[in-house]
């Protein structure tokens, strides 16, 4: 779902960078405090898994692409701060190794998918746990995918209003929210369902293997 380079304006990505940097610092400190010889390989393996999930891309109408995200899985296993950090690394690697996504769009993508996605997953999972593990994981992950998609759709949809030429033509992304919101939310309703099922499968396996690192 993430936005490639060249579609969002500096008026958007520079403020997003200003918000993301302090959050990366906090997440980095939390990661440093918990990182040990047991956690590091686990985190690396799940980061690699999230990277693989997010490289299987499908172009979507409206200018972005659809794929599983993997941040819900990271959040349920390691907690929201570490998931945010790990997913930011996934986005960075996609930008500088695979050449997908983008470096200027990184703060926006990291905030919408990594930060908001992780926190929505964990908050919903904790509040819905009394319904049972499976419904809590599935609802939390699906909802987190939808919230992240909505945020990215709004960011893209605001571009024609934020950055315009003197003649009124757009300078970056050309479509408004009336197009971007349905164009991203409809496919992600299905992508989110697939991701929720996949997350439940891996989450149960991780719990059986005692790999869960997040405070319960």
């Amino acid at each position: 779902m993430h936005i490639p380079d060249g579609l969002i304006s500096p008026q958007t990505y520079l403020p997003a960078l200003a918000v993301a940097v302090p959050l990366w610092v906090v997440a980095g400190r939390k990661l440093q405090a918990r990182l040990g010889d047991e956690m590091l390989p686990r985190l690396a393996v799940f980061t690699a898994l999230a990277l693989l999930l997010s490289t299987l891309m499908l172009p979507l109408p409206g200018g972005t692409s659809g794929h599983a995200v993997g941040v819900g899985l990271l959040a349920l296993i390691f907690g929201p701060w570490i998931a945010f950090m790990a997913y930011s690394l996934v986005l960075l690697l996609q930008a500088v190794v695979v050449g997908a996504g983008g470096i200027t769009a990184l703060p926006v993508n990291a905030l919408a998918m990594g930060f908001v996605g992780a926190w929505v997953t964990v908050a919903l999972y904790r509040s819905l746990r009394r319904l049972g593990e499976a419904p809590a994981v599935v609802i939390a992950v699906w909802f987190a995918v939808m919230v992240s998609a909505l945020l990215l759709a709004l960011v893209l949809g605001l571009q024609p209003s934020i950055a315009q030429s003197p003649d009124g033509s757009p300078r970056f992304f050309p479509f408004g929210p009336a197009i971007t919101v349905p164009a991203l939310l409809l496919p992600h309703a299905f992508i989110g369902a697939g991701e929720a099922a996949l997350t439940l499968l891996v989450f149960r396996h991780a719990r059986k293997r005692r790999w869960l690192e997040a405070p319960r």
Binding site: P10, Q32, L40, P41, A48, T104, P174, F175, V202, W211
Partner: protein, 183 residues
């Protein structure tokens, strides 16, 4: 040091490109990058073009249709968008080809370690997926049903996860025992 400097130069160039809104300058930038990227520039351009083609096609066709309906078509915008996105993709492809991330991260041992494990696990996952596909194809002359593929994929995925975890722990212990993580 050289790789880190090139990495920083790429970062500055990418930001600069998003500040330029004149197709002539962007076209000139594209030509300049192709000129100085030395041998293999055709492959570089092809890689960048293929990476952004689906997105550019979707946006350009969508914009053309919308502009035709609302009669507000701006050809200069289409040129601007396509040139900018292609130039950014070209810069990134060039950086991916010529900058060694491992060397660029010299001085950050934690980040290098994490990066090396992630890269090695991606390779392991990809190899396992290829082996799985080959195994499925070699065992049956009839293609598996969608349900069979999902079930087999889930089983293999979890087995691959166990294997990756084992490999990763062994790698970390090996690095620890050789003092590579003593920062």
């Amino acid at each position: 040091m050289k790789h880190r400097a090139w990495g920083c130069a790429w970062l500055c160039a990418v930001v600069a490109v998003t500040l330029v809104h004149d197709p002539t300058w962007l076209g000139g930038g594209l030509a300049a990058v192709l000129l100085v990227s030395s041998h293999g520039r055709a492959a570089l351009l092809r890689r960048a073009f293929l990476a952004v083609l689906p997105v550019l096609l979707l946006i350009s066709i969508g914009y053309l249709v919308m502009g035709w309906i609302t009669e507000t078509l701006a050809w200069s915008y289409l040129l601007l968008l396509n040139l900018r996105v292609l130039l950014l993709a070209l810069l990134t492809s060039w950086m991916v080809r010529d900058v060694d991330l491992d060397r660029a991260l010299h001085g950050f041992p934690g980040a290098r370690h994490w990066l090396s494990i992630v890269r090695s696990q991606v390779t392991v996952f990809r190899r396992l997926a290829t082996e799985y596909r080959a195994a499925v194809q070699s065992r049956s002359t009839v293609p598996p049903t969608l349900g069979q593929r999902y079930r087999a994929g889930a089983t293999l995925g979890l087995a691959a996860l166990d294997k990756a975890m084992y490999n990763s722990q062994a790698l970390t212990q090996g690095m620890r025992s050789r003092g590579a993580l003593d920062d």
